[in-house]
């Protein structure tokens, strides 16, 4: 039904478009000077039909289901719903609906079959009503729009208003989604902090969230101090940056300034492939290659290395970040005007001196921005650490130890046996919120720094 309705609307609005367009074209042919060209008169009709009627259809379809459900239930024979809780009523409604779709199990009572018939009938009626309403409404608008075609009618401004309204609507979607996410995190975090004191979460040095969910489970008492978890994230992030920043920077500088065009043509796509590798694959790489390599290297030196050492997860994450940093650096270096490069070379600077003293300072804002975004990504990265980092939170900054991260904990808290009213599960939201705040702060910093340098250098 919905498809038919939309098709009908499309036909009517196209009709409106051509009506208006032709009317305007005729006026112009008669020598009248129009404010807007005929195309805009047509578009005006098209948009002012489609936009409100689509909204109408969407609202109608959203309300239709619940309304019909309510009618179905209230139309049941008296007494059939007595002594039933909400759950029981919903079961009956579900049964009626499945009968209406022709899936009948066993021998349903006659009143249920009746109700199912009425349910089907009501849907059909509602569909036809919608069809009628859409036709009438769209034809009405088309007629109205047609009547407005006149020499001084500002169809172009009308179209502009409607399209800018649409754009405004689309941009608010993103904003409201973000606000919704923040609200959900905040709401659940508040529920967490009703059960676990804030001071314990922020100052506690122990993280043992595996408390019993049901009475028959055996588990520890539970401790919710986020410091060791966040410390783990920091250790892995620092390891990743130690690898990614120098390698990314130098490779970008090399590719941009020193490599022959042939080499650049090969190396750049390869770096981009590196950026496209799914993080799960990096996780495999960490478990199967890097972690054993680090362990056996540690063993030859006589240093004990944990099987899921932070070093392994961190260095693989660093590899993941290399293309990120190098592409930012590359963009920033390429954006430096050629005249600066020439200026330095003409003074007798070598290429390395030119890069180091002139191009690099000029490119700093872009590079710093890239590094900070890389930090945000490292902190939020989940798959690699879920696969390669540990589960136990330990208070250590030794990269050879096993550490866990905020994201790993969120995942482990939310998979498996969960219920949303105990601190174990709610702790995930509190962690998520902290993650959100930390990355937000970093991004704000990134923007600050970028802006500061830009002011100094423009």
């Amino acid at each position: 039904m919905a498809t038919t309705v939309f098709l009908a609307l499309l036909c009517v609005s196209i009709l409106g478009y051509s009506l208006n367009r032709q009317a305007a074209a005729r006026m112009r042919a008669n020598g009248t000077k129009l404010h807007s060209v005929p195309g805009y008169h047509g578009l005006y009709s098209l948009l002012s039909t489609i936009v409100p009627v689509v909204v109408l259809i969407v609202l109608w379809l959203a309300l239709q289901g619940p309304t019909i459900d309510r009618f179905t239930m209230s139309g049941l024979p008296a007494g059939s719903l007595d002594e039933l809780e909400t759950g029981g009523r919903q079961l009956i409604l579900a049964e009626i609906k499945s009968i209406s779709r022709g899936r009948v199990f066993g021998n349903p009572e006659a009143w249920k079959v009746d109700a199912a018939d009425r349910y089907v009938w009501m849907h059909a009626v509602a569909g036809w009503m919608l069809f009628g309403v859409v036709i009438v409404a769209s034809l009405g608008i088309v007629g109205f729009a047609r009547s407005r075609v006149a020499a001084d009618f500002r169809a172009r401004h009308g179209v502009e208003r409607i399209t800018s309204g649409l754009m405004l609507f689309c941009s608010t979607i993103a904003i409201f989604t973000t606000l919704g996410i923040i609200a959900a995190l905040l709401f659940e975090s508040i529920r967490f902090f009703e059960r676990v004191p804030i001071t314990e979460f922020f100052l506690g040095l122990n993280w043992e969230p595996q408390i019993p969910l049901r009475e028959d489970q055996v588990a520890a008492e539970g401790a919710f101090g986020w410091i060791p978890v966040f410390l783990g994230t920091l250790v892995i992030t620092v390891v990743a940056l130690f690898l990614a920043v120098p390698v990314g920077l130098l490779s970008a500088i090399y590719l941009n300034e020193f490599a022959t065009p042939r080499l650049r043509a090969v190396a750049k796509p390869v770096l981009e492939i590196l950026a496209g590798v799914p993080t799960v694959v990096y996780g495999f790489f960490a478990i199967l290659v890097v972690a054993p390599a680090i362990r056996s290297f540690g063993a030859t030196l006589g240093i004990p290395v944990s099987p899921n050492a932070a070093l392994a997860a961190g260095s693989v994450m660093g590899i993941m970040l290399i293309p990120f940093i190098s592409s930012f650096t590359d963009d920033a270096l390429s954006a430096v005007p050629k005249s600066l490069r020439d200026g330095a070379l003409a003074l007798g600077a070598t290429r390395a001196e030119t890069v180091l003293n002139v191009l690099f300072p000029a490119a700093i804002p872009g590079i710093v921005g890239g590094i900070l975004l890389a930090i945000s990504r490292a902190i939020g990265e989940t798959m690699i650490v879920v696969m390669a980092a540990g589960l136990i939170a330990s208070l250590t900054i030794n990269p050879l130890d096993s550490v866990t991260t905020v994201t790993v904990q969120i995942v482990t808290l939310l998979v498996g046996d969960t219920s949303f009213d105990n601190p174990k599960t709610l702790a995930a939201f509190a962690l998520g919120m902290m993650l959100f705040i930390v990355t937000l702060v970093i991004n704000v910093f990134a923007l600050r720094i970028v802006r500061k340098y830009r002011e100094a250098y423009e």
């Binding site: 200026g343 330095a344 003074l347 100094a456």
Partner: protein, 266 residues
């Protein structure tokens, strides 16, 4: 010095030849921008390059310090000797060549550094100053020669990019002078300057002539006449006429030169 390969134009032979170019051709990809240009540029004098826009003045100028090397598609053919040394010889380091042959560009290009660091950059990388005091002295002297000292002496540590266009250009001139080059190539150095600053830069050029060889590209006939001893007229990539400035303006030999300087082509 090496004066035996024949002079171009009628030479007064008063001073030595600093730069000797023979059969220079420059190609950008397939298109030829410079066609068989031979020219002798004298030491301790000012040589002006004039000619209509796009005729290859900047391109030829960039040959003299091998800045065309930095353009991927550019290809230079022919011989250029400076002080008798072939600048394309395998043993020649373009970096050292450029320290000796300074350049001021058509568009001002100060580094995103402080005014002081802009000037000090060349002396620092070439180790011209032994200590801070010497460096300070070089910076001040260069800024004075660039006719900008009075405007910037109170703000030496502010970014050079914060100056006006004309100030930036004088900063770039000062920056080029600071490395004490033997040849200074100036590509329309005064196109962004007001008459006062232009006069100051022309004074500077006159002063530099005492010790260096200066090559200046200019669109102003008056400027060429005021500052240069010899003038070269380029047209469509060829060197049409190269003679003493006074002669070229009063008594041009080639009809193209005459119509250019009287304002009929270009």
């Amino acid at each position: 010095m090496m004066n035996d390969m024949g002079n171009v134009g009628r030479d007064s032979a008063a001073s030595e030849i600093k730069i000797q170019a023979r059969g220079v051709q420059v190609f950008y990809g397939e298109t030829q921008a410079i066609k068989d240009v031979s020219v002798d540029i004298l030491d301790k004098s000012v040589t002006a390059f004039i000619g209509p826009s796009g005729c290859g003045k900047s391109t030829f100028l960039r040959c003299l310090n091998r800045m065309n090397d930095t353009i991927d598609i550019a290809r230079v053919e022919g011989d250029i000797h400076i002080d008798g040394d072939d600048i394309h010889a395998p043993g020649i380091d373009p970096v050292q060549l450029r320290a000796k042959v300074g350049m001021v560009f058509q568009k001002p290009n100060p580094f995103p550094k402080s005014i002081y660091d802009n000037i000090a950059y060349g002396p620092r990388i070439h180790g011209l100053a032994r200590n801070k005091a010497e460096l300070d002295e070089i910076v001040e002297r260069s800024l004075r020669r660039g006719a900008i000292w009075d405007e910037v002496k109170h703000r030496l540590h502010e970014p050079g990019t914060g100056l006006s266009g004309g100030q930036q250009q004088r900063l770039c001139i000062a920056r080029a002078v600071a490395t004490e080059p033997e040849v200074l190539l100036m590509d329309e150095p005064c196109s962004a300057l007001d008459p006062i600053a232009t006069a100051q830069v022309e004074d500077l050029i006159d002063e530099l002539r005492q010790s260096y060889s200066v090559v200046i590209v200019t669109h102003s006939m008056q400027q060429a006449a005021r500052v240069s001893q010899r003038t070269a007229f380029f047209h469509l990539g060829s060197l049409v006429e190269y003679r003493e400035t006074g002669q070229i303006f009063t008594n041009p030999e080639d009809p193209r030169t005459e119509s250019y300087i009287t304002g009929r082509i270009g």
